[in-house]
């Protein structure tokens, strides 16, 4: 399948056979020995980036830990009072399905199933957009209208404790930074779909698809923790 992939040892590229499908024409950058080293190096770089992302979110989980320990009763009450676990649960299911479809898309690239690759990427994008739609129109906008906003701007008349704004601060910061990752992830997936439409992903080359997939799984991973901590156990 990959026997005709052009390889060069010293960064000297032989002419690429234009009759090959686009994914076989991928030529690694001259500072790599071969396509596989380039793939492994890019993936290690992606994993290192993901660790910094986890540490970014661990700061928010640390703030959650501190304030939940200090005001556990207020947090539990605020969680049930301000957040609707059903929306959170639906969004969890949607993100899990999208993680599954992006894993399928990588499998499709490995198997050279070009049509299924595009369909699975498209479903993943739709799931991401659904997540954002539910988040914005069923959570963020109603909360803003009722004054359930973070910190000093909190103006909801039904607040029962001085710590309600604190809970909302943690909710807004962690879910909005997570949401911004969903926005970026959807953009990256759309770019992958465009690349896939050019048939540039295939069994011997799908590096950027793999790395965008890793990023998308990270978004899912963070939500796996945010959902129970914010919506369920308060």
């Amino acid at each position: 399948m990959s026997s005709n992939t052009p390889q060069s040892g010293e960064g000297f590229a032989p002419a690429v056979d234009p009759s090959l499908p686009p994914w076989q024409r991928h030529k690694h950058q001259p500072h790599w020995r071969n396509n596989d080293d380039e793939y492994q190096g890019a993936k290690l770089g992606m994993w290192l980036f993901l660790t910094t992302e986890l540490l970014l979110f661990s700061g928010m989980f640390c703030a959650y830990t501190i304030f939940r320990m200090l005001h556990s009763e207020d947090f539990e009450r605020a969680s049930h009072k301000y957040l609707d676990w059903e929306i959170g649960a639906i969004n969890t299911v949607v993100l899990l399905i999208s993680s599954f479809t992006v894993a399928l898309a990588i499998r499709n690239a490995q198997m050279n199933q070009q049509r299924a690759l595009k369909i699975n990427l498209f479903i993943t994008i739709l799931c991401g957009l659904f997540f954002l739609f539910a988040k914005i129109f069923y959570e963020y906008i109603p909360k803003i209208q009722e004054g359930k906003v973070p910190g000093a701007n909190f103006s909801y008349a039904g607040a029962e404790s001085a710590y309600d704004p604190l809970f909302m601060s943690i909710y807004w910061v962690s879910t909005a930074i997570h949401g911004s990752h969903v926005v970026i992830g959807v953009g990256l997936l759309a770019w992958c779909l465009w690349v896939a439409s050019k048939r540039r992903y295939g069994p011997t080359h799908y590096t950027s698809l793999e790395n965008v997939g890793l990023f998308w799984h990270l978004v899912d991973l963070i939500w796996i923790f945010l959902f129970p901590l914010l919506y369920l156990v308060g």
Partner: protein, 154 residues
């Protein structure tokens, strides 16, 4: 992988690099398991009462198991270069240290000085003050004596 010879553009050139292809049935099984565990998280949080900390720990335990499924199988770490797994484990170690030591600090301030426990929840403050008064480290004030004179069942 390190001694890969670029001269060999053979048919197995890309088949031997750990590009592990997972069957869709296996991936679908992981998805079903993740959805069942999500249902379990919701059910236990809403219907099973194990106390504040008990419910929190159970939810965290299930979430960690789900995260392990995603990382291991959806993100292919189970079949991947082990160096990537080492990078992730060191990050998790840093995160656990960061959050764990903060929690130990917040949770043990009343043991050092009951006066500093005023940041804590009322029950913890009350217990800490009672213990300090019993050990003669703290003078009771009006609130403490009021609490002590009341008989528990009201």
């Amino acid at each position: 992988m390190s001694a890969h010879d670029t001269q060999h553009g053979g048919a197995d050139d890309h088949g031997s690099h750990g590009h592990h292809v997972v069957s869709w049935q296996f991936l679908f099984g992981i998805l079903v398991l993740l959805l069942i565990l999500t249902g379990l998280t919701v059910y236990t949080a809403l219907e099973v009462y194990l106390g504040d900390t008990g419910n929190l720990l159970l939810a965290l335990f299930i979430a960690s198991f789900k995260a392990a499924l995603v990382v291991g199988f959806f993100m292919h770490l189970h079949w991947d270069n082990k160096f990537n797994a080492v990078a992730l484990l060191f990050c998790l170690l840093a995160g656990v240290t960061f959050i764990g030591f903060t929690a130990i600090d917040i949770g043990s301030r009343h043991m050092v000085d009951p006066k500093r426990a005023e940041m804590m929840t009322p029950e913890v403050v009350k217990q800490a003050r009672e213990r300090a008064i019993a050990e003669g480290r703290l003078e009771p004030d009006n609130d403490d004596s009021a609490n002590q004179n009341e008989s528990p069942p009201e």
